[in-house]
């Protein structure tokens, strides 16, 4: 029966090929022609064949940055999001992944193979790569040197957009004075100059928080919402949460913003009550420091809610708007090697992206969704479909699709998670004290096992200034030193007390259950011990839709995104 069908199909194919040529032959001849993968891909092909470049002028420009959300972290978020929706995860499509255009982005800073968020934000929002730690200045500035800032200032996209008559908003879950949002409105020789208390003596460049208020006064920034209240309030004033400010110049920037006519919101209730139709700026400061992780969020708006409020407030401007959105804490959770919170903040970012897609039109809005840099995140194998992305790796089922439910074991006999970090607080190496007993054992064993005695060494010595007993002692010390070095024992002396202590960085992996590994507080295992896991220099992706989004393709330098936004909006 099967053979007959095949034969019939082949005859039909030959007949069609006479009429239409060999392309159709190949397609119809394929035994997998009706396979869902094949038909799905064909639909995708047809969609792309029909695509035309959108060369409309961009009335609105939106750039959305998930901090520390490179290609690897994004892969994990895709699976996590899919698994929360009840599928295996791999097949899931994040909202940004439905955008038609994509580029890989090179993220390094001019002086850093591994970038930081200040340098990368300046690249995206002001169009030039600069040094790590720099906000809104070019590479001629030395880090921390305020005297070089004025000559090194670069113009931000916020400024260009506001000069073009657009409303502008900066939304973040980090502090508003943190690196990524700051590059939209500030110039600083160091990202840490968030308020006046951290400025070096004699620095004449205003701190970052005060630059935000100046930007609101000038109209460069209309809406700013995020965390970081402490940088706006004097150190003798307590904020709404009873936490003291950090400013030492006595200025209360929240009061100054109110005096400019700004609506100030600080919790879920005041956020809900803000009048979005009212003229004048909106300042939202929902936490003393960063806003909460999505996993822990209470009494403050979500990133998507802040996006919705911002677009609602700005969409009445006939000249359009510029919106910068940062999911600031994917980065922080990665730094903490706590994948669960990186994922839940990644999903909150995805919801914010969906909100922008829902509230804007491809016809007049350029949307770019990207990250500033990646982390030292890494992925183990070989895991079956549906393995929880934050949890232990299950095996592949050769007879089916879903994983086989068998925890995969490493050569140490222990299971392992899909995701680990190359460095971080989850390191299996721990700084363990070496007990005095072990040091004594080392001495006994070393000397007992040595073929040469101290006396022989002393007799062979030609140095008359060294006594026999000293030579024996020195020989013993050398043996112990060699042995301890083989065991990676290091001795350090406390500078204050003068006491010495010996330690080794050692460790092994203990048992781990799936329940423990998928706990929201679980810290992923790492190799190299570091209190804070690091960024990496790996590429990130930039997804885009709308006017001139087709210019975002290939492998690009990060600062190129600025040129595309500017061109799409202004033609320059």
């Amino acid at each position: 029966m099967k053979a007959k069908t095949t034969l019939t199909a082949a005859v039909v194919t030959v007949a069609i090929s006479l009429l239409t040529g060999p392309v159709v032959v190949a397609q119809d001849a394929l035994p997998q022609a009706d396979n869902a993968w094949m038909t799905g891909a064909d639909a995708e092909l047809q969609k792309r064949l029909a695509m035309q470049p959108n060369t409309n002028r961009a009335k609105n420009v939106v750039i959305m940055i998930a901090d520390g959300n490179g290609v690897g972290t994004n892969y994990a978020t895709r699976l996590f999001h899919g698994q929360t929706l009840g599928n295996f995860g791999d097949e899931n499509v994040l909202p940004k992944e439905s955008l038609p255009h994509l580029a890989l982005v090179k993220t390094y800073n001019v002086n850093a193979q591994t970038p930081d968020s200040a340098g990368t934000a300046t690249a995206m929002l002001a169009g030039v790569k600069t040094k790590a730690g720099m906000i809104g200045v070019d590479e001629t500035v030395s880090r921390g040197d305020c005297s070089t800032v004025e000559a090194g200032k670069v113009t931000s996209i916020n400024q260009l957009m506001s000069e073009a008559g657009k409303s502008t908003a900066i939304i973040t879950t980090a502090r508003l004075t943190h690196a990524t949002p700051a590059a939209g409105y500030a110039h600083a020789a160091d990202r840490d100059f968030e308020d006046d208390s951290t400025l070096p003596e004699g620095c004449e460049v205003p701190d970052i928080a005060s630059q935000l208020i100046s930007a609101m006064e000038s109209g460069m920034v209309d809406i700013a919402m995020g965390g970081g209240r402490r940088h706006f309030v004097p150190d003798d004033v307590e904020d709404e949460d009873g936490k003291a400010g950090r400013r030492t110049d006595g200025r209360n920037l929240i009061e100054e913003a109110k005096a400019l006519g700004a609506q100030y919101v600080f919790d879920a209730e005041s956020f809900a009550a803000v009048d979005l139709s009212k003229e004048g700026p909106v300042l939202g400061l929902f936490e003393s420091s960063h806003m909460k992780y999505e996993n822990d969020r209470t009494d403050e708006p979500s990133l998507a809610e802040m996006v919705e409020a911002s677009i609602t407030a700005m969409q009445g401007n006939e000249n359009g708007f510029f919106l910068e959105v940062e999911a600031g804490r994917v980065d922080h959770a990665n730094h903490g090697s706590n994948l669960h919170r990186a994922m839940t903040d990644g999903v909150a970012f995805a919801e914010a992206v969906q909100k922008v897609i829902d509230m804007t039109s491809n016809e007049d809005t350029l949307l770019i969704v990207t990250a500033d840099h990646e982390h030292a995140i890494a992925f183990n194998g070989y895991c079956g479909r549906g393995t929880p992305i934050t949890g232990l790796c299950y095996g592949i089922d050769g007879d089916g699709i879903a994983h086989n439910g068998v925890e995969q074991l490493a050569d140490d006999g222990q299971p392992y998670t899909v995701v680990g970090y190359l460095n971080g607080g989850g390191s299996i190496l721990k700084k363990e004290k070496v007990a005095a007993e072990m040091m004594i054992e080392a001495e006994i064993v070393s000397e007992a096992a040595d073929d040469t005695t101290g006396e022989q060494v002393a007799e062979a010595s030609t140095d008359a200034t060294v006594s026999t007993s000293d030579a024996i002692q020195a020989h013993g010390d050398r043996l112990v030193e060699d042995l301890l070095a083989q065991l990676d024992v290091t001795t350090e002396v406390d500078e204050d007390s003068g006491e010495s202590s010996s330690y080794r960085w050692i460790g092994s992996r203990g048992p781990l259950t799936q329940e423990e590994a998928t706990d929201p507080d679980y810290i992923q295992q790492a190799m190299i011990p570091r209190g804070s896991e690091t960024h990496s220099g790996e590429d990130v992706a930039a997804y885009a839709s709308g006017p001139f989004a087709h210019l975002i393709s290939g492998t690009i330098e990060q600062n190129y995104l600025f040129n595309v936004m500017r061109y799409a909006a202004t033609g320059e």
Binding site: G425, K430, A435, M438, V445, L487, D521, R530, G531
Partner: protein, 151 residues
């Protein structure tokens, strides 16, 4: 067994010796007994005390976490945090303080643990504001008369 140790067997012997020493060092305290809870079990999302914490006030509990690098040496006091902290989070004003933490007052001078080693601290839960007269450390919740061991 030969009396002469090869280089390899010397290493193994030393590693075993080290393992024993580390084992003694880690197992010296008695933290067994009470059910293990996590720091988050003491707090609601808004950082008010949970029903569990209110009910366990004055009771012995065992809490898992990490020992933050101590404020000062040779102290009976340390701070238990949810996540490993490589540097003392309370020593500089500029550093971030974790929101949810637990002050621990141990029975004996604390043997400082590696920052990334999980521990279980066991002691009597004490709710209420308290300012440590020695360190000035302000706490809303503490474990007192506590012991700890490696997790």
């Amino acid at each position: 067994m030969s009396r002469v140790m090869t280089k390899a067997s010397r290493r193994q012997f030393l590693i075993r010796s080290g393992a024993v020493a580390v084992g003694l060092f880690a197992g010296g305290a008695n933290a067994a007994g009470s059910a293990r809870i996590k720091l988050r079990d003491l707090y609601n999302k808004d950082l008010s005390f949970s029903d569990f914490a209110l009910a366990a006030d004055g009771q012995r509990v065992a809490v898992t976490g990490y020992m933050a690098p101590p404020l000062k040496a040779q102290s009976q006091f340390f701070v238990l945090t949810k996540r490993p902290m490589a540097t003392c989070p309370f020593c500089n004003d500029g550093d971030e303080w974790p929101d949810d933490l637990l002050a621990v007052y141990a029975r004996r001078i604390v043997d400082v643990q590696p920052f990334n080693a999980g521990i279980i601290a066991s002691g009597t839960l004490e709710l209420g504001d308290y300012k440590d007269p020695d360190t000035g450390f302000f706490s809303r919740v503490r474990l007192v008369n506590a012991t700890f061991k490696r997790d």
